[in-house]
Structure formats: C-alpha cells, structure tokens
Symmetry: C2
Subunit: 421 residues, 2 copies
Amino acid sequence: MSSQTVEQAMLALGENARRAARQMMSASGAAKVRALTAMADAIADSRDALKAANRQDMDAARETGLTPALLDRLTLSDRTLDLMAEGLRQVAALPDPVGSIGPTTIRPNGMRVAQMRVPLGVIGIIYESRPNVTIDAAALCLKSGNAAILRGGSEALRSNLALAAIVRQGLDAAGLPAHAVQVVDTPDRAAVGTLITMTEHVDVIVPRGGKSLIQRISAEARVPVIKHLDGNCHVYIDADADLEKAHAIAFNAKTYRYGVCGSMETLLVHAAVADTVLPRLADALVRHGVELRGCPRTRELVPAARPAGDTDWAEEYLGPILAIRVVDTLDDAMDHIGRWGSGHTDAIVTENLSAARRFQREVDSSSVYVNLPTVFADGYEYGLGSEIGISTNRLHARGPVGLEGLTTYKWVLSGEGQLRG
Amino acid sequence: MSSQTVEQAMLALGENARRAARQMMSASGAAKVRALTAMADAIADSRDALKAANRQDMDAARETGLTPALLDRLTLSDRTLDLMAEGLRQVAALPDPVGSIGPTTIRPNGMRVAQMRVPLGVIGIIYESRPNVTIDAAALCLKSGNAAILRGGSEALRSNLALAAIVRQGLDAAGLPAHAVQVVDTPDRAAVGTLITMTEHVDVIVPRGGKSLIQRISAEARVPVIKHLDGNCHVYIDADADLEKAHAIAFNAKTYRYGVCGSMETLLVHAAVADTVLPRLADALVRHGVELRGCPRTRELVPAARPAGDTDWAEEYLGPILAIRVVDTLDDAMDHIGRWGSGHTDAIVTENLSAARRFQREVDSSSVYVNLPTVFADGYEYGLGSEIGISTNRLHARGPVGLEGLTTYKWVLSGEGQLRG
C-alpha cells in the first residue's frame, strides 16, 4: 500500500471507531459482560485456528531471526490462551465504571450538581508483538465503554487478526457494534503516524512497550498520550526506621523481580543507621547475585560496592544492580529523589510520623509509600482490578491506570426551571 | 531581542518556574492565604502607580487605533482595581485543595491505599490585553500550589508588569518564592512559541481568549492544553415538557447574555408541542430583538423566521440570533446535538423521567442539564468558587475548571513492612 492509501485506510478506521464509540457510550453493562464472556468462550472454541495463525507468525519470526525472548512473547500456547480467556472473565466481573454518579451538591437555588463517569471515546493502543495484549486491551476498552483501535507489532499480525475475529464474535453475540474494536491490518509503519495524529477520530493513545517506542510516539503524537517512561524508584531508610523492616523492604524492593518498573534502583540510607543496616543488607544482596554501586561513604561500609556516579543515580537498571547512597538528612534524601527520580514510585522506611508525613507530602512522584517496597506499583495490588499501564503523566490518570483511567466525567445538573440572572 | 534570545529568556523563566513549583508544592495553606491577602492590600496601596502604568498602555493603544471595546477591557479603573482586590480575597477564602486525601482502601494484606491532591506544577496562561486576568490567573495558580508563567496581550504589557510587582510583594510578604508567578516581559510573539513547547518546564497551558487564539495555540503546543473552543449549546423541548417552564428556560437560555459561551444557539422542539410553544416564544424573542432562523416546519408556525441551513446548525452566534428546528423524537434531538453540537452544554426540558435519564446519559457534552437553561455553565454557579475557564477537552478537567482542575493526584500507600510475592 502507498502511504497515502494507508492514511486513507486509517481515517476510515477512525470514522468507524467514532461511530461505534457513540453507540458504546450507552451500551448496557449487561451487553458488555455478554460480549466479554462470549469472547472467552470463543477462545476456547477456536484454539486450533488461533494456534495455526500464531504458528505462521512464529515461523516467519524465526526466519527473520527474532530473539528467543521475543519469540516467547509472541507464542500463543494453550496456557496463554487459557490465561487470556480467564482475563476476559475477570474483566467481565469488574464493576462497570460507566454511568455512576458522584456526590450531588444542592446549590442555593435548589439545582442539583453532580458528575457522571463516561467513556473517553476512542482509544488507540500501540504495542509490541505480544498477541495477549490484543485481548487484554480490547477487554479493558470495551468494559469501560470505549471504542478501540489496536496496533500490535507486525510479527504478530496473523495472530492479532485471528484474535480480532474472536473479539468480533463476542461483539456480535452481544449486539454491540462490530467496529467497537478494530485491529489495524497493515504492518506499514505509516499507520502509526496517522493513528497518533488523527485528533478528530482518536481521543487518547496508550503505548504499551519499551521506552524508545513510547518516546517516539510521544514526540510525534497530536492526540494526548497516556505514557509510561522510566521507573527509577527509590527506597529511603530513615534514621528512625525499624531496621528489620528496612532490611526486608529493601531486599524485596530489589529482588522481587528485576524487570518490573517498580523495582528499586537506588537505595538511600540515613547516615545514623548506615553502619547497622548496610553491611548485612549488602551481604544478602550480593549473595542473591546483585551488583552494588555506592557513594564513597557506602563503599567504606561495603567494600564490595563499585563506585557509583551520576549515571548510576540516573539509570533505570531493570536488572540485578543497585546504587546506594548515604545521606545526612531526610531533606537530602528528598533532594536526591527530586533531582534523579523519574516520578514513578518512591518509598520511605520510618517509624517517625512527621518524617513519613513530610516524605509523602513533599516527594512529587505518582506513588509515594511508607514502609512498603516500591514493587507494589501495580494496578491489581492497588485494588483497581485491572491495569492498562502505569502513567507518569501529570494530567488525567497518574500511576497505575485501571478502568476508571479510561473514563472521564461529565457534569449532570437537574432543576425545576430555575433561571439565571 | 533576537528570537534566539527570546527563547533563552523563556527557558530561564521556565527553569525558575520549575524550581519555584517544587517549593510551592509544600507551601502551607496559611502562607498562600497571606500572599493573596497581601496582594489585595498592595493593590489598594498602589492604586496611583497601577493607573499610571495603565495610562501609558491606554495612550499607546489609542494611537494604534484599538477599538473602544478592546480599550474598555484594557482599562484599570478604580472599580476594576477594587474588583481585583476583592477577587484575591475571595480566592484566599476558598478551601485549599492541596494535600487532601480521598477515601482510603485497605487491601487484603493490610496496606492502605489512597489518593492525595497535589498541584499540577507549572501552568502557562496565555491571554489577551486584559490586565485583570493577570491577577485572577495568578491567584488561582497560587492558591492551587502551582507556579505560573503569565503571558498577556502586548497592549497591556506595562499594566501587567506593574501588577507583577504587586504579586511579588504578596509572595515576599508570605515568604513564598518570587518566581512562583512570573510575567513574560517581552511583547515578542516568539515567547509564546517557546512557552507552549518547553515540555520540560511547563506542565499545562491554559489559553484564555477568542477561538482563533486557542486554535493556534492548540495546533502548535507540545505541552498539554486545557482548551475551550465553541459553545454551540442546545435546549430541547420534549413532548412531555411543562410548557411554562419550557418557555421560561428557552427565553432565559437565549437572552440572559448573548456573549457567554453557555448561551443557547439552537432550540429543538418536539413536533407534538411545537404549535403550542413556538408561536408565543418566538413572539417574546422577536420583541426582545432576537432574529429567528428556522427549519421549514418552524417557519410554518413562525412566519417571522428566516430559513435556517447547515451553517446555522453549526454556528455559535454569540449574538441575538437563534436557530430553531422541529424534531419528531428524542432520538432526532440527540442526533442533531451529536452531529452539530460542540460538546459544551445542552439541556432537555421534560417532566418524563426516562426521557431525562436517556438525554443525560446519552448526550456526550461536558454539561448536560434537565429543566435548566444552558446559561448556568459557569464555575461559580456549579459551586466551584472560582473558574479558570471551561474545558471542552475530554481528558483531565471537563466543563467549568475550578481550583481542583489545576491539581492532580498522587497515590499514597502506607504499610507495616508488607512484602510482595
């Protein structure tokens, strides 16, 4: 296809999505549950067709020399298909956010003012070659009453188109518009360029993937982007910390899983407790295979640590490496986080109430914890029931984004003929 | 200044604002009240200096032939100065939105999850040559804990710089950072170009002014914009309307003030009541000086109406003109609003509960009313206590934006050393 044809095809997709979004806005909760459940059933019924389509993607990907890790993410096994169906049923069971009305105020003239939750409209999701995201994203957009345009990595195109057929079966079964979920059917990169700039047809873009993908999309988009960049997370062990808790929290924050965005990348320790807490913690981490990099004062207490510099304070390792810095005050800890942090998730370990309050009030991150490891940064852990991603934006949704982050509100006012002026 | 110098000056302003925003984030409510009150006092004390600066602007503007309406908006009279001081005291008295914590959930592992309101950060306000906006915008940004960069129309530059000195006195008196409110001191248009693209230093842009200003800024901005485009508002008189209420609501919605964005531009009337309601209403409107434009069925009942076409359905007159259309069903009314409306404010007049419910649920506008005139679209009327503007965005703030629209939230979690996994 020429890039002009791609643009026209995307605009047509956008118009369809906008029309479908208008209908989805007033779709009943029951119809959405029916659609999601029918999709789960259809996955079970179409196991062979889905695996056959996926095998074609896998064969092509092997030929182009995709890495084993990426091949693994591309695979639709029986287990991934089971998880996808289970995920659909879980989303179906979540409370429907649409149409709920918040607290009502009565104005002096008797009119009633409230806010009603409503869908955002059309959501564009851009992701890598992970076909499970197709179903996951479709389910969250559908449950929140939005229309979705899904653009996965080109290596997963056949799998994604097979999954799109499953989604359509679910929509049909529930009498919902077929264009409520559309999968972009061209691998042409120009499609993304149109998707992220057609402000008439798309209300928000959610990129799911690595930092470079998200940076590129954010730089070029005209549609608002719910984006998640770095998670350079800190744990600060205060002078008044319970040192047993501090040890356990810091160890868990680093070792729970190296690759998650809530993983601790820098540990800050108050000078008053550094000599008690650091040697034992360093020992446990090193035995667990974690490489340590420290400031000069850290290295006096932990000879195994290599010297840490500014690049270490700035880096999101996403691996078995930890930077450590000894600080003299709570303010120094907060200054370090303000300067080097990414505003994702930061924690203090302390038994001192005013230190906890100040840290939670003054650290400007989307999540700020007291006496908890940063690895709790996850929509499920927060009780959101689902998660489309973690936002490091300041406007609209911040931190873990669940169904509510895919909705907005409108004002609903009622009266009995009150007039103005 | 060369445009490169302007860019450097704006970047310096941005860095100052970012630093000030960090300090403002934890400023106490008391300090903010002190600053706002000191500004109100300083206006009273500096009346002569302010009027002298304003006279220079007025003289220059007269020479360049500014229209009387624009000269009027540029004037700082004793009365405008009184209103500005009064406005500052009113904002000072509003509840402080920053630091409040919403409902707390306890998770199965005992950790507590809540959201805390926090400032957005740095807000850029771009407005026309109305010096009162300088004080109004400074007050709202300050009260909500943000740093502000203010860029008013060049005709008001001397007035705005004199007002900036007043603001600085207030900040000094309260021990708040001097850069918490900065007024751009160059009339060079390149300053706006830098302001709306320096995403590192500015978190949101609020343009206040005419549609062309807002369109231009939205098209070029890289920073998110809280924007307000058209207010093409509708009143729909349902078959089950109380016709006395309908008459009063429609008359008020058109005639309260022609120039406000909540003013009704198109009246939709159900065919079953059109012959009862339209002739009398049309008569009252015509006698009030309103020009009527109608669909063919309207013109059978209202011979005075000129023919209405698509341009009338699309237009925001902001003047003494009203388009009228007779429709056969509630759905036809909602389709008309969906196609021609601007998503600002739309109202139904009905005594029928299911018609009211459907209209409020299905009309996708930022405000949807039952039995109220659209001219209530105003933050003060909603009980917000103040208003920076009315947003027609879908993300973040929607409809009238008060102090809360200038804040965001962060997640605050507390535990006793719970671990993950």
